[in-house]
């Protein structure tokens, strides 16, 4: 059975809410029923087949082709199965997803993986602000799972993050790990200003030394036993994080944010 493929017919001027097109909601539906689903598109509610060419049958393997940054809420609350986005994705990609995998070949907008609970979300390009963050007003962001970004990420990555891991091969913007409650953010590239701002617990794992705020204190250089186990868990990823060359267990440890509880840490490879 071939993957259920939605190919965007033409660029849409207004944003499209793609949340109805997730594996568990489409399970057991035939093509006619899927075609008749109405999607919010600006102030209109066109049928799926008005916006997309539909091919394939396998609802547990969805492909969204010719995708654009106007397609929001792709994979919202995804609970099993896989979604591949060929092109860019809009905001709220994989929001509150529970399990399964999402792969985006291009870039994503704001709030990708926000309040994600489990599963694997892989972004081949860049991600916008608030990656893995909490919705405005909410107190807990990402609560589990793995987010892998091969490009750069915007500001406030991991804002209010509670658990799980965000792996960034490129650079991170300002306020990376802000208000973190726990979890791990690894950045191979550079980080912006106010790294770990108001983080309470959690780990920021960095390949490059960055100027830290005065509220982070140097705890010295250490060999940490959990790092080889952490890196071993990356082995299955299609990523530079899986390379043997990137593995290290010797770090400079900075504790902070001392303006908060100070139980977080920034670990910098040495």
């Amino acid at each position: 059975m071939s993957a259920l493929t939605f190919t965007l017919k033409q660029p849409t001027a207004q944003r499209v809410d793609m949340s109805p097109l997730v594996c568990q909601k489409l399970q057991g539906m035939d093509i006619d029923a899927i075609s008749a689903i109405e999607l919010q598109n600006g102030k209109n509610r066109p049928r799926v087949d008005e916006l997309f060419y539909i091919t394939g049958m396998d609802t547990q393997e969805i492909i969204i082709a010719n995708a654009s940054d106007k397609l929001d809420f792709i994979g919202k609350e995804l609970d099993g199965g896989s979604i591949s986005v060929l092109g860019d994705a809009g905001a709220y990609l994989g929001m509150q997803m529970k399990s399964g995998t999402i792969n985006v070949s291009g870039d994503t907008g704001l709030y990708a993986a926000c309040e994600m609970k489990n599963g694997l979300l892989q972004i081949e390009g860049n991600a916008g602000d608030f990656l893995g963050g909490a919705l405005p007003g909410n107190k807990q962001g990402m609560k589990g799972g793995t987010v892998l970004v091969k490009g750069n990420v915007g500001q406030r990555a991991g804002d209010h993050m509670r658990r799980g891991q965000i792996l960034i091969e490129g650079n991170a913007g300002d306020y990376c790990g802000s208000r973190m409650l726990a979890g791990t953010i690894a950045v191979m590239g550079n980080t912006g200003r106010y790294l770990g701002y108001a983080m309470r617990r959690g780990t920021l794992l960095l390949w490059n030394q960055h100027q830290l705020s005065a509220s982070f204190n140097d705890c010295g250089s250490h060999t940490l036993a959990f790092l080889p186990i952490l890196f071993a868990s990356f082995k299955t990823l299609n990523s530079r994080f899986a390379d043997n060359e990137v593995v290290f267990n010797r770090v400079q440890r900075y504790g902070g944010d001392m303006a908060e509880t100070g139980r977080g840490e920034v670990l910098v490879r040495i």
């Binding site: 589990g144 799980g164 791990t184 940490l224 186990i229």
Partner: protein
Amino acid sequence: MIINGVTIDKTFAEAFPMKATRAIITAQNEKWAMISAQAMTGFATSVIACGCEAGIERILSPDETPDGRPGVSIMIYAMGGKGLAKQLETRAGQCVLTSPTSALFAGIEGGKPIPLGKNLRYFGDGFQIAKKIAGKRYWRVPVMDGEFLTEATTGMVEAIGGGNFLVLAESQPQALAACEAAIEEMKKIPNVIMPFPGGVVRSGSKVGSKYPALGASTNDAFCPTLKGVTKTDLSPEIESVMEIVIDGLSKEDIDKAMRVGIQAVCDLGAANGIKRISAGNYGGKLGPFHFHLQEIMA
């Protein structure tokens, strides 16, 4: 049945259901992993007075351990789940947490999870850090030599304790040499431990005593110095008897360990003073698992 001049008695070892768990201790090198493992499995020869039976299962190479360091696999057996959990936790806290460079990991996937480092984390006084990696929860506890890394839980499974056989020899040195040869082979079998000192027990017991306060006492029928004054099981030429007790995760594991152990003893044979192999039982009324010597060696 006679093997190489050694008589295999037509009897059986009687064993009991137990709960078991396994943990993996790693350290900077094998020496310190072994020191920690020996401490953790110390004073754990018999549930009669130790609360559990524990032993070192085997040495692990770095590529067999979760953190890529040399390690040792240990197993702990107890009569009940609560007792096992308590023994595991106190021993981990006093013997592994305290041991330089050590880390502690689960050795059994599945089964019922019981705390390994889950409560030891409080030693960190709020500075401890949890990490959930590949579905497993770890605790990083700051200690004076760096960080103590421990997995939160390990698995508890059903197991069997009390598999055994007796080596009857013409002299004490010959009995001990045979037992040493047996233990050497039995150590190669996975999923079993021989919890007594060096794997060998010289003070096998029977149930009950003339003293009401004691639940067990010396197995006088196999004491060579009492041959003339008690209802003995020993023939005149037997001067020393030693026992090997085996705890294992399954009947098959204990079968296998008993087979290689008895075979190693028989390889020394009558020429080296080994006369008989027997086993301890309670008439088959107490333990549901029976290990018939002749069936095992058939």
